[in-house]
Symmetry: C2
Subunit: 319 residues, 2 copies
Amino acid sequence: MAKKTILVTGGAGFVGSHLCERLLRDGNRVICLDNMFTGVRTNVAHLEPNPEFTVIEHDVVVPWKSPEKLDQIYNLACPAAPGHYQYDPISTMKTAVIGVLNMLELAREHGARILQASTSEVYGDPDVHPQVESYRGNVNPIGPRACYDEGKRAGETLMFDYNRMYKTEIRVIRIFNTYGPRMHPYDGRVVSNFIRQAIKEQPITIYGDGTQTRSFQYVDDLVEGAVRMMNNDVGFLGPVNLGNPDEFTMNHLADLVLALSGSTSPIIHLDLPADDPTRRRPDNSLANKMLDGWKPKVPLREGLQKTIAYFKSIDFTSF
Amino acid sequence: MAKKTILVTGGAGFVGSHLCERLLRDGNRVICLDNMFTGVRTNVAHLEPNPEFTVIEHDVVVPWKSPEKLDQIYNLACPAAPGHYQYDPISTMKTAVIGVLNMLELAREHGARILQASTSEVYGDPDVHPQVESYRGNVNPIGPRACYDEGKRAGETLMFDYNRMYKTEIRVIRIFNTYGPRMHPYDGRVVSNFIRQAIKEQPITIYGDGTQTRSFQYVDDLVEGAVRMMNNDVGFLGPVNLGNPDEFTMNHLADLVLALSGSTSPIIHLDLPADDPTRRRPDNSLANKMLDGWKPKVPLREGLQKTIAYFKSIDFTSF
Ligand SMILES: NC(=O)c1ccc[n+]([C@@H]2O[C@H](COP(=O)([O-])OP(=O)(O)OC[C@H]3O[C@@H](n4cnc5c(N)ncnc54)[C@H](O)[C@@H]3O)[C@@H](O)[C@H]2O)c1
Ligand SMILES: NC(=O)c1ccc[n+]([C@@H]2O[C@H](COP(=O)([O-])OP(=O)(O)OC[C@H]3O[C@@H](n4cnc5c(N)ncnc54)[C@H](O)[C@@H]3O)[C@@H](O)[C@H]2O)c1
Ligand SMILES: O=c1ccn([C@@H]2O[C@H](COP(=O)(O)OP(=O)(O)O)[C@@H](O)[C@H]2O)c(=O)[nH]1
Ligand SMILES: O=c1ccn([C@@H]2O[C@H](COP(=O)(O)OP(=O)(O)O)[C@@H](O)[C@H]2O)c(=O)[nH]1
Ligand SMILES: O=c1ccn([C@@H]2O[C@H](COP(=O)(O)OP(=O)(O)O)[C@@H](O)[C@H]2O)c(=O)[nH]1
Ligand SMILES: O=c1ccn([C@@H]2O[C@H](COP(=O)(O)OP(=O)(O)O)[C@@H](O)[C@H]2O)c(=O)[nH]1
């Protein structure tokens, strides 16, 4: 593929840093725009020597002018973990709505294609299983997760309205639970909590009875799907689910993490948070059909091993 | 009740003008803030001689400082008819989200209580009937109605997050189809279309087969409910449905309008718009219980007569 100039918002975050890496490896010029709210500069430190890579600290809620002509925008800027997005819910809503608006204006100005990182959270606590893209969801608009769920839904609306009004080239992906190296060790998500707890020989905290399920996607599979989605030239706008269909209970995940990390941490049960989805699993048929046979390749066991190795390599006190 | 200083955004619109009138009648000072997008100054012309009434032209998407200390804010600013809110969907989303944000900031600054005019559209095309407040809805986030539906959902989220974060005194009402004098004659809504068409002896345009249902609330009943909700001092935040539970098909409505207006217009059928809800009817139990026995009093026949009289009195060419 021809070299492109690509903006990655949220590029210093967990997914964003892997995406920047991949896009550079493919020979592109990459600008990472991030306000470092949940991202850390060390996530992209290894990329900074590359002259094709630039990091700019900026909040997407504030309009931004690009110094360079942009071909593509991946809009990932947004806290993603419940503990992070609930820290300042009003700010989350602003990022999810005004941030998207600003990036859509930028895309329009540059005639750039823009991909929005939406989420399986648009389905809320789903009563259709597995989730297909046409399912309209079960989101509580006034609950503690709403700042994120409703914000991301409104973000999708804006994407499609820009496409309808201005023919902006949009792509929308709905990301299901994703994990891997460079997850924030204190983001409160289940994979980072369990691995950190296991390594530190602290109790593994299962919320509720642990029978709720999630399907965990290794970050490399997501990045592959996102790049394919951005570059599909058949005019497929999405939304498209990107997730791993292998469904696990939190009890099963806890056992796996304990086994793979060789930990003897005890398991304890804490209260289930409000509006915690009971089950979640993507229907991947659309991605598989439209994105050249895409499907996740990395099994949970293998991905967890890589993530555990990363967590063992970092200094928790620096976060 | 003691005299209060009350801001009504969207006060020059259909519902807003009736609300301003009612609040003035109750002895309050009323500031009407409106950008005249779908409202018209003539809607409140009869109130302008009252020294307790002020009209200010301003767009709620732009932050606003009040020259006077505010006690209450009714946030009604938002196009409400599908034809109006789909005219510039991006601007609708901005009004629905950034407008609410700005008014919440104003409420916080003044320690004022704020009531948000949400909508039965948060239920989308409902698969629970009648709709109770706990129902999470069936909204298509990427469809042509989403700018309004998702915008209003996000508005509710912001209201509750301000309450959780800053203890802002919020009230949220979900308004079901409301009609009456001062509806915009070209808003494209079914009541205004049918009455205008009947008066002009033009064809009555039923979309689809006309078996879809709505429940029509006369504006005075809504205003009474809204004022009760605002002034409930038991800390009832809502959301609460305000609507008339008498459900009618569009076929039935057409017949009624023809009969009451003495028109001989023919009935024609046009295509049903995308995402048009099939049924809609409020469950009013919560409003009835929490708002001092509130229930709609004006039957459709009586309300239509008043509305027809209003439409006969106006000059259509001035809109
Ligand atoms: N990881 C997942 O499981 C998952 C699931 C669904 C969706 N997503 C979406 O993918 C994207 C990336 O998620 P992640 O897991 O890498 O999370 P992350 O928190 O590691 O990354 C988000 C990045 O965005 C930055 N950011 C936040 N608000 C910003 C703002 N206003 N301006 C500029 N930068 C801002 C943060 O500093 C961070 O670097 C998010 O949009 C998220 O909603 C992730
Ligand atoms: N009438 C109904 O059936 C119904 C149903 C559900 C909800 N609602 C809600 O009630 C409120 C009033 O609706 P209505 O039927 O009177 O509609 P309307 O269009 O007559 O009134 C809306 C008013 O808001 C003003 N406005 C719009 N955008 C604005 C902006 N950005 N800044 C300032 N003013 C702005 C318009 O000029 C207009 O005067 C709306 O919030 C609507 O969503 C109405
Ligand atoms: O320490 C933890 C953190 C999370 N969870 C549960 O793991 C699941 C996934 O939570 P996470 O926050 O990772 O993501 P999300 O709920 O957004 O899918 C949810 O059922 C949580 O209740 C858990 O049991 N222990
Ligand atoms: O994340 C991925 C990456 C690849 N593939 C599929 O796996 C096969 C091999 O892909 P790879 O990237 O290894 O080589 P490519 O086929 O792209 O040259 C192809 O059929 C891809 O469609 C996949 O399903 N998920
Ligand atoms: O000229 C019209 C306008 C509307 N409708 C139908 O009337 C119902 C109510 O439409 P309206 O736009 O008044 O409100 P909403 O759909 O928002 O409830 C919908 O089923 C419309 O398809 C109709 O049959 N003829
Ligand atoms: O829009 C209204 C106004 C009043 N009421 C009820 O109708 C009765 C008479 O109300 P009105 O305003 O006529 O007199 P009020 O009881 O307020 O003095 C009371 O039980 C109210 O609760 C109602 O259901 N809807």
